[in-house]
Amino acid sequence: MRLLASLALQNLGRRKARSLLLIMAVAVASGVVFTGATLMRSIDSSMAVGFTRLGADMMVVPEGALTNITAALLTVEPTDLVLDQDLFARAGIASVGRAAPQKIARVEHSGIDSHHDSVDLIGFDPALDFTVRPWLVEKINRDMRQGDVILGAAREAALGSELLIFGKPHTVYGRLGKTGVGTHERGVFMTFDTFEALAGSVHGHGGGPPAVLQKGKVSGFLVELAPGATPLQARFAILSTLKGVKVVTGDSTMSGIRQGLAALLNGILALMVLMFTSTALMVSVLFSAIVTERRGELGLLKAIGARRGQIVGMMVIEAVIATGAGGVLGVALGVLVMRLYERSLVYYLENIGVPFVWLDGPRIVVVAAAAVVMASIIGALGSFYPAWRASRRDPYDLVRGEG
């Protein structure tokens, strides 16, 4: 093995320019695959977070409620009108995937901000929520319980610290990231139990507590469509099944973008597979030429006693060394490209509040190792057949330049 590796290295060193070109070609392919795979997985994770954070596909509120469409698909808007909390659970609408109930009360004199500032208190059900918790950037390491509150990004308070709301102590359980939506930025989020416990302190227009503070009543529902369902189907199903409700749809292009990006990522994956395949073919063609050029040398090696396995082994090791080196170089180039990417586009995206979640370190190492191993496998596969074919020939045919 050491002898074959040594011969392979010497052969690579003999044709430095060609070896270097081969290494560079494989490096480009491996670099693209490594960078592509890492970014693709990162974009995929970011998309998962981003789209989850984008909230619901539509909102269902009491008929007659006013809605702010900008904030609508993150939280419902505070109104005096309410719906039953188990409305969707009872209806069982097939085109609705998830329906997260929310309670909202806009309050003053809560003690949270200065005296006249209004604050949105938002109640949600952690078991059904899919629009609030995805924004959590930090939290106490336990489940949320009664008396806990989550603060919007614009509020400063240490985790675990005490926050008085209408004089009642609450614990800061977590904080949300920047959403760009006022309701979230300055809102105080809590479970329904915590929310309803404030009933004695919050006063509605009539003087008594608003209806939304009653148990079993909510301001509205944030709805996510069932897979394959269209907003139109869901809207008709909801309006025909539920009485006294209004359906507010968000930007329907969001689901289009989600599907489009998924298709784009699949397209990139297909391109990467094609690129690796074409590199394997290129290596194979190159090694066919190398074997042809070195027929005399291979014939000589066979004549002096090299076995077929040794001939094939020498050529395959030579290819694996070259393509493996190309793989390592490609990963190094990929890391550089990703550093540039991080300092430009990712920096920009994060500045405007769009999350970008990099793959974690161990997974990046796995992707890098996979790129190098795949590059080496390409070398092995690409060189095996020409080497195997040459090894079958009689030494005399090879020495004479045939075969």
């Binding site: 040398e297 014939g299 000589l300 002096i304 006693g305 076995r307 009689d394 020495v399």
Partner: protein, 222 residues
């Protein structure tokens, strides 16, 4: 003892099948110096390749010391070539990326004697015997054609073969170098008792042989 029975080699060409060696019988006793002579295209090299296990015959048998070499498996034949036969080709047949000492040690290393100091000591000693003791670390391109050919003879001897096959080993050398190379080969034949089969055009070289095999059109004519 080397024995060929009904040995035949056909090549397929655009003009049809051509018999390079046409059913040839031959015996060469162990330790002999035999010369195979004939005009270009007479089938000398094809015969030599079949005797040396380099080219599979279309028909017939080659037996070396009782072993039918073409009935051996691929790996066994490779081992046979490695251990029992030394080749001196008509072209410079050293690997250009290896030093002379590496080239000489290579057959032993391929045979499983990889990297041992004894192998390198033997290779150095053989190169010394060939007058190349001062060129152990030289690369083939750094020595003359005659020195390269001597290194090839040293390589042929590294595994102490029973048979040396030399296919026009001096065809591209000057007269003086030719004499020196032939002296080396004949010394191996005489001193080690190694059977030497030489393919040559040169009748003067052939006249020194104990057995001359004259081939024309793939058959022995004398």
């Amino acid at each position: 003892m080397l024995s060929c029975r009904g040995l035949r080699k056909d090549y397929v060409t655009e003009r049809g099948e051509v018999a390079a060696v046409a059913g040839l019988d031959l015996e060469i006793a162990t330790g002999r110096y035999a010369a195979i002579i004939g005009r270009s295209g007479s089938g000398k090299s094809s015969l030599m390749a079949m005797i040396g296990g380099l080219s599979r015959p279309s028909q017939g048998q080659v037996t070396v010391d009782g072993t039918d070499i073409w009935s051996l498996s691929e790996n066994a034949l490779a081992a046979f070539r490695n251990k029992r036969i030394g080749y001196v080709f008509q072209f410079a047949s050293l690997l250009p990326t290896l030093r002379l000492v590496d080239n000489v040690a290579l057959p032993a290393m391929l045979g499983g004697d990889a990297g041992s100091s004894a192998t390198y000591a033997r290779a150095a000693a053989l190169l010394g015997q060939m007058g190349l003791g001062g060129h152990l670390d030289a690369y083939p391109s750094e020595v003359s054609a005659g020195e390269q050919r001597r290194a090839v003879i040293a390589r042929a001897l590294i595994n102490e073969p029973a048979l040396i096959l030399a296919d026009e080993p001096t065809s591209d050398l000057d007269e003086q170098t030719e004499i020196e190379i032939m002296d080396e080969l004949l010394a191996v034949n005489r001193e080690r008792g190694t059977t030497l089969i030489l393919v040559t055009h040169n009748l003067a070289l052939a006249e020194q042989a104990e057995q001359i095999v004259h081939i024309a059109h793939g058959a022995i004519v004398a």
